[in-house]
């Protein structure tokens, strides 16, 4: 029995959350059971992915290849748990678990009605399953399906808060994201026309030999992928839907949307660009320069826009736009250091931004204040929540000892290695701007007199989730060990072995 589970672990990582998601509505009114099951599934998921990651590391980066239904590629669908897959599976599982714990405590205050909350969890698990699938699938059409699942569950999560603006934001997101899905499907279609394959490995091999015969078709395919995934990953200037959607969603949803969902699309784009198209072809089409350039613009504009936001969650949402810019910049450097930085930033930003959104959500539900300027003295009334917010801020700014520093260090190494001094300057400038939009929150919270209102810390589960995430930020910043190894190995896979 255990051997069977172990052998099929890759597919379980995807199927288990999906299966539980389908079961949940049958006992939607029994909130306790729903929450317990969700947390249980996430915890088991974390254990399973940790096992897979250990296996991959023990094999020295050799991927675990799983053929779904026993059909071998190119006919069947392949799941490949390589360095990249194990890395992102770990990130998804590591962030989802604390967020689920937090949600079980806080969701009652943000979403009304037991049934509605159960549906929230259904969407939450669907998103988790889709993200897990994205990280390990090796099939282009499978990517499209998972992207659609993720997109639709994201839409649902955004509109879960019953505010009218939530519906509007979700609708905007839906339109743009569907456009993006169409683009991705188009891109896959063009690639299929040229290569005749949907399996990434086979498509890559075919593309390498035939792309010169169809340069325009390949060019179209790449453009479609860039725009399609760019919209979904909120890559500047396609980010316009993100601030509304991520600020209006319930806080656990904001956390996974900003922390994980956008990263899932980036992982898919990375796979398409590096595994299928390949670094050489990217250079031919100057894609790397485009990525670096737009990444720099995203960092600067996103940060500057974040500076101007008074609404706390909106400020954090704009910050996500800037941080996504970092990841694209690191990707575009086309060297192992830069890529490692980008990948590690996916993990560190995932955990940091979740911590920030959850802390912000706790502050908002406990005090009812949504604006930074109204948060005077929150730090004294809610020391744990704001303490975690402070640690996460230091992490995002990139102070050594916290996870953000590691990613930025590698990206700096990468940009200087590529001789791109402007990129290095922008990476650092982004840090300063990041301090500019996060530290005022901390200053107001701690150093302005508190009003007489009786603000309480959130419940035990929320505090536990926040503390777990804060510890994660600290551990990733000091002893990132396997995660950094996986990121380094994945970056090497992307750039060296192709």
């Amino acid at each position: 029995m255990t051997a069977a589970i172990r052998a099929n672990l890759p597919v379980f990582a995807v199927i288990a959350p999906l299966f539980v998601a389908f079961v949940l509505p049958t006992f939607a009114r029994r909130t306790r059971l729903v929450e317990g099951l969700v947390i249980f599934v996430q915890a088991v998921g974390l254990w399973g992915t940790a096992y897979l990651a250990r296996l991959v590391l023990a094999q020295g980066g050799l991927p675990i290849i799983y053929e779904v239904g026993g059909w071998s590629a190119p006919w069947g669908i392949e799941l490949v748990v390589g360095n990249l897959g194990a890395f992102f599976l770990l990130v998804v599982a590591g962030v989802s678990l604390p967020v689920a714990i937090y949600a079980s405590g806080n969701l009652a205050k943000e979403v009304e009605g037991a049934r509605r909350r159960a549906w929230f969890y259904v969407l939450y698990l669907l998103l988790g399953g889709a993200l897990a699938g994205m990280s390990i699938t090796n099939d282009l059409f499978n990517v499209f399906v998972l992207v659609e699942v993720a997109t639709l569950s994201c839409c649902g999560l955004v509109s879960a808060s019953q505010e009218p603006s939530g519906a509007e934001a979700a609708f905007n997101y839906l339109i743009l994201a569907t456009l993006g899905s169409g683009m991705i499907l188009g891109g896959i279609g063009f690639l299929y026309i040229v290569t005749g394959h949907l399996n990434m490995g086979f498509a890559a091999r075919a593309l390498a030999t035939v792309w010169q015969d169809y340069p325009h078709v390949v060019w179209m395919a790449i453009s479609f992928f860039m725009v399609g995934f760019g919209v979904k990953a909120a890559f500047f200037p396609l980010h316009i839907w993100l601030p509304d959607a991520h600020s209006v969603a319930p806080s656990p949803a904001s956390a996974v949307l900003s922390g994980l969902a956008v990263k899932g699309y980036i992982i898919c784009l990375m796979k398409v660009l590096f595994h299928v198209v390949g670094p050489e072809l990217m250079q031919v089409f100057s894609l790397n320069r485009l990525l670096v350039l737009l990444g720099m613009v995203a960092i600067l504009i996103g940060s500057i826009l974040a500076l101007g936001q008074d609404e706390l969650k909106r400020r954090l949402a704009f910050s996500t736009v800037a941080q996504i810019g970092y990841i694209f910049l690191g990707m575009g450097l086309l060297n192992v250091k830069g890529m490692t930085g980008a990948l590690f930033h996916i993990a560190s930003h995932g955990i940091i931004k979740s911590a920030l959104f959850l802390a912000a959500g706790a502050v908002i539900t406990q005090t009812g204040k949504e604006r930074v300027s109204e948060l005077a003295g929150v730090g004294k009334k809610m020391p744990i929540t704001m303490g975690v917010f402070t640690i996460a801020s230091l992490g995002l700014v990139g102070i050594p000892l916290f996870s953000g520093f590691v990613g930025k260090w590698y990206m700096l190494l990468g940009s200087l290695g590529a001789g791109d001094y402007l990129a290095a300057a922008v990476i650092v400038a982004g840090s300063v701007l990041c301090a500019g939009y996060l530290f005022p929150v901390i200053r107001v919270a701690y150093f302005e007199p508190a009003p007489a209102d009786d603000w309480q810390e959130p419940g035990v589960r929320q505090r536990l989730a926040l503390i777990l995430l804060a510890m994660g930020i600290f551990v990733l910043g000091t002893i990132p060990g396997p995660l950094l190894e996986l990121a380094l190995a994945a970056a090497t896979d992307f750039l060296v072995f192709n």
Binding site: P400, L413, L416, V428, V432, A435, F447, G477, L484
Partner: protein
């Protein structure tokens, strides 16, 4: 080994204890603050004892795969001793000065934490740990800068953070480049970049470092945050903005010059020839602007800017005598400047006079204070019975011996302008109506006056017997010039 850990932890632990202590018990808190500060100072002195008797203390590890280390060498130890000793004086002075101020808990908690962090800067054995503590120092001292919590203080705080973070950003890029070129960031193996010799881009790297650390060292034109930060309570202005924080910048530059590039490599670089001119300009411009300031604390701030560049000038001569002068000036200037600030603080507290033009006759009300202030003023000119005479002597000797004689002239001119800057104030303080009531009575005032007088006394003592600190200075110079 345990000494260095305890020295670094006592401030941090103390800060946390103070932060968790309820607001009410004032007396208990002051006792605890003193206890932790004394502990930090004692352990720092023990570390110094080990280092100066030839031992090595090393503590190293990895953060995220990057090696860090704490290994005080003579230069770091001298800086650490200055910090640890003067912190005690400033703490005692704070007991008097802050007695009736609000928010004392925050004040003392962060004062102690900043103590730890400043010692961390001093004891760092690699660029990475230096950078870490240098960044943390900004955050640990920020609450002290905005202690007043009014708009002006908040604005000063924003400026302080913005300048410091931009500087730290420049340093980070420079460190990444250094890491790429040298392969290591540890100071223990001699100058990091010396082995690689001259290479293109070295000048830019030096420029990045100097600009980055120059923010806290208040090199013109990166000095703008410092006068604004004078909104902080006087003990903070005295300790942090005349010594600890600004010295962390100066110390960073000394490290870059002697531990990252090394004086031999520096001597071969064209860019390093420009640096003494920047320092010389800052020396003169700073003190000239200082004479124009009417608010005493602002005058002292610009004067700080000028004096910090004395130290940098000594370092930039790349000559053993110049470095000796720089280290001697680090020691002697810090004692005198704190005395001046303490004096200004007592005057402001007891007479509410903050402008130089109002200070006629305060000397009769505050005889001990103004006498110490006068002694320190003489020191800033570089008169003989005071310690700064010796630092200036070695600085000039180093400038001439290093072939940079115009800077000896700069130092002489600066001495004259210093006289114009402070002597009129001192003379005015002791003219006018003699029969005024003394305002130096009462427990809190004694707590302020005693450290002031004591520091002035130490300055005179070091002036008469410079040999007291000479072994330390010699050890620093030897550590960089004789290998």
């Amino acid at each position: 080994m345990t000494d260095i850990i305890l020295a670094l932890l006592s401030g941090l632990v103390g800060g946390i204890v103070i932060a968790l202590l309820p607001q009410a018990s004032n007396r208990l808190r002051n006792t605890l603050v003193l206890l932790f500060s004394v502990a930090g100072a004692v352990f720092s002195w023990r570390v110094a004892g080990t280092v100066f008797s030839g031992g090595t203390i090393r503590l190293s590890g990895e953060i995220a795969g990057l090696a860090w280390s704490l290994q005080p060498d003579p230069l770091g130890t001298v800086f650490g001793l200055i910090v640890a000793t003067l912190w005690l004086f400033a703490t005692v002075y704070s007991f008097g000065y802050m007695a009736d101020e609000p928010r004392q808990r925050t004040y003392y908690a962060f004062l102690l934490i900043a103590f730890s962090v400043a010692l961390g800067v001093a004891f760092s054995g690699s660029l990475l740990s230096l950078y870490l503590f240098y960044e943390l120092l900004t955050f640990a001292t920020y609450p002290l800068v905005i202690h007043e919590r009014n708009d002006e203080a908040i604005r000063a705080g924003v400026k302080y953070i913005a300048y410091s973070l931009c500087g730290a950003g420049a340093i980070l890029i420079a460190i990444v480049v250094t890491h790429g070129w040298a392969g290591s960031l540890d100071f223990a193996g001699g100058p990091l970049l010396a082995r690689g010799g001259l290479r293109p881009g070295l000048g830019w790297l030096l420029g990045l470092y100097v600009a980055g650390f120059g923010v806290k060292a208040a090199i013109m034109p990166l000095h703008r945050w410092l006068p604004e930060a004078m909104i902080a309570p006087t003990p903070i202005s005295a300790l942090l903005h005349a010594v600890a924080v600004v010295y962390s910048g100066v110390y960073g530059i000394l490290r870059v010059v002697y531990s990252v590039f090394g004086h031999e490599l520096m001597a071969q670089m064209n860019f390093s020839r420009a640096l003494p001119w920047v320092a010389g300009f800052t020396i003169l411009a700073g003190v000239i602007i200082a004479t124009q300031q009417d608010v005493l604390k602002r005058r002292l701030a610009y004067h700080t800017i000028s004096q910090l560049s004395y130290i940098l000038l000594g370092a930039f001569t790349l000559h053993p005598w110049g470095l000796a002068g720089a280290i001697f000036h680090m020691i002697s200037y810090s004692t005198l400047k704190i005395t001046l600030f303490f004096g200004a603080g007592i005057v402001a507290k007891q007479t509410t006079k903050i402008r130089v033009s109002d200070m006629g006759g305060v000397g009769w009300q505050l005889p001990w204070t103004m006498a110490s202030f006068g002694v320190a003023s003489l020191g800033m000119i570089g008169m003989l019975p005071l310690n700064t005479f010796w630092s200036k002597y070695y600085l000039m000797r180093g400038s001439v011996a290093g072939g940079k004689w115009p800077f000896a002239l700069v130092l002489i001119i600066s001495g004259f302008i210093n006289a114009l800057c402070f002597l009129p104030t001192v003379v005015a303080a002791f003219t006018g109506d003699r029969d005024q009531l003394s305002r130096e009575k009462g427990g809190n005032v004694t707590l302020m006056v005693a450290p002031t007088v004591l520091l002035a006394g130490i300055a005179v003592l070091l002036g008469l017997w410079p040999g007291l600190v000479w072994p330390g200075v010699e050890a620093v110079v030897n550590s960089f010039f004789i290998r």
